[in-house]
Amino acid sequence: MGMTELDLKLQAGALLGRRIEADRLVLADEVLAQALDGRRPLTAGERAALQGSPLTLRRLRHLADSRRAQAQVVRGSWRGSRGLLRAADSGNGLDLLRTDDGMWRLHFVDAAGSLAVVVQLDPEAAGAADVMAARPAIQVRDGSGALVLEGQLDADGECEGPWPFAALPAAHFQQHGARFEVIPRATPLT
């Protein structure tokens, strides 16, 4: 005598369809996240506030969905990939880097006169299917941890952005540990 799929949809529709004039976020993300993780249950007052604020409930849903989406990535084997700038790469015309596991390629391309960086998932690589299914938000960081690129993986398994540093890629990576990493972003992009 459980809830049917249709029951769940109807409940979700009823809860999410409510609107209250001058509604606002009544609980901080931190409070909601701790309640979702079971680290700190809501106080009675906070619980009442959540139930009385449809907007805060929508925020809770967003955080809950985000946790589930990221959990899906973690359930897969991929936690991140590292790559090195090889000696042979240090020439002037660096246009491609690979991670050691062969999962990711970094391309440097000229986009309308300015340099762009593209990270691309190799669909043939082990574990790539899991990553593609989850389409996580990812980050590329250089050897000193500075952000090179971040974004949501698109349907082609790619993510692109402008090259953020003054120095050209070869020189930049050379000066910053000659390595880089591609990692899932801690929380998905909104």
Binding site: M1, L57, R61, E160
Partner: protein, 439 residues
């Protein structure tokens, strides 16, 4: 402009607005515009929502004609966006009451203006105003739900003003030769050669707040119209002299535009786990009831957004679309025909219902047509989970409100009343402890 969660801030809005204006006039013509004078706005709101939804369908909002025109870069079509906004209105009776008050005031002044020459445009303007306010309410809520930062409709409006402003500055920079005096005023120096800034300005984050301020300040001298930061309205008073606030907002627009550039679908809420979050919600409530954290409640205080301190909501000026083409009107008149249900529909639909389900039990005292009206309102005319017996074989969707009222032998307003009462009861019960035990 794209910001986290927003749906109504991109190029397609003009089309959505026109569609809503057009269909609202059509709905008023069908209901009689004096419906808007009904002393009970809840009553007229229900009638309007049904009529305008029908008009949207009749106008072909969901056919090729509009489905090819994306309303935003998430791929929502203009028809979908218009209908979603109508459903939002349904949940916000205060906005509807404001429209009715405005119409009643006009009526008290000049009588039934809608039937006078030019009166349609005036009525359309009222609806334009309604939806202009509503889209920013909806999107500021969407923004808050998506990123957890507070936002108000006025702030959303200010983001859009700044986005328009920097594009205008970029346009002037690109044509610096023709606009040398104006570009000079923006940069604060004489422009004799191509300014380096023209080449550097690529995204909103590159746009210096001082340029926006000087652009607005000098706009009147160059175009005759006061700049948005320099009108008599106090709307942007808190921004006017705050370059750091302008800069932060411009950067946010630019950063999100970049982050979301390769976003081609709403990946987060795919259908397979559309209600998985409900489990999390129930668990959060359960754990709180079982062993709530003692001590002070960490509830955020209400903070007023500085941008709300101005004049209050004055709708942005809208350009009115031309009169409805006669051809279009004739086509619409033809479509408004009543579909009839097969004679054994009620029996089959009742058999198709899962009597043991939560919803059927919680609405056991309502008639089947009322229960179906609840589904229609909360989930829309079609959902994968509907038993096929519920669908009208002619449309493949749930029967319309009109059909359901006929089926129940009650009037449409009565059906709406019963439906809304049932929804209110579901709202109260959804998420309550005894309900969760079903799960």
């Amino acid at each position: 402009m794209r910001l986290p969660g927003t749906r109504y801030q991109e190029h397609g809005w003009e089309q959505v607005r026109k569609l809503l204006g057009h269909c609202s006039l059509h709905a008023c013509a069908r209901l009689g515009a004096d419906t808007l004078l009904d002393p009970d706005p809840e009553q007229s709101l229900g009638a309007y929502v049904d009529a305008v939804a029908q008009a949207l369908h009749a106008a072909g909002a969901f056919t090729e004609r509009y489905s090819n025109s994306d309303g935003n870069s998430y791929g929502d079509t203009c028809g979908e966006l218009a209908l979603t906004l109508v459903f939002e209105l349904q949940a916000r009776p205060a906005d509807w009451a404001a429209l009715c008050t405005a119409v009643a005031a006009e009526h008290a002044r000049i009588g039934p203006f809608w039937s006078q020459p030019g009166g349609e445009a005036l009525l359309r303007k009222k609806f334009n105003d309604l939806y202009a306010v509503l889209r920013d309410k909806v999107d500021s809520d969407n923004y808050q739900a998506a990123c957890g930062r507070p936002c108000s409709p006025n702030r959303m409006y200010a983001y859009r003003m700044l986005d328009t402003a920097w594009h205008e500055v970029a346009r002037l920079f690109a044509g610096w030769r023709e606009h040398a005096p104006q570009v000079g005023a923006i940069l604060g120096r004489d422009v004799v050669a191509m300014p380096i800034e023209a080449r550097q300005l690529r995204t909103s984050g590159d746009c210096k707040p001082e340029w926006i301020m000087r652009w607005s300040e000098s706009l009147e001298a160059h175009t005759g119209a006061a700049g948005p930061l320099h009108t008599r309205s106090k709307r942007f008073a808190s921004l006017k002299n705050s370059p750091e606030k302008i800069g932060a907002m411009l950067r946010e627009i630019g950063e999100y535009e970049l982050l979301s550039a390769n976003r081609d679908q709403d990946w987060l809420h795919d259908a397979s786990q559309a209600s998985a979050w409900l489990d999390d919600y129930w668990r959060v409530l359960d754990e709180s009831e079982q062993g709530s954290t003692p001590g002070p409640d960490l509830i955020l205080e209400a903070r007023q957004d500085e941008l709300d301190a101005g004049d209050g909501l004055e709708p942005e000026p809208t350009i009115d679309g031309g009169p409805v083409e006669a051809q279009e009107a004739a086509r619409l008149a033809l479509v408004a025909q009543q579909l009839s249900l097969p004679p054994n529909y009620a029996l089959l639909a009742a058999l198709g219902e899962d009597r043991a389900s939560w919803a059927a039990r919680r609405m056991a005292h309502d008639s089947l047509p009322v229960r179906l009206a609840v589904y229609l309102k909360l989930l829309g005319p079609f959902d994968d989970s509907y038993p096929s017996e519920w669908l009208d074989p002619q449309t493949g969707e749930l029967p319309t409100m009109q059909q359901l009222a006929g089926l129940d032998g009650i009037s449409l307003p009565t059906l709406r009343k019963r439906r809304d009462a049932a929804v209110a009861r579901l709202n109260e019960m959804a998420g309550m402890e005894e309900e969760r035990r079903w799960a």
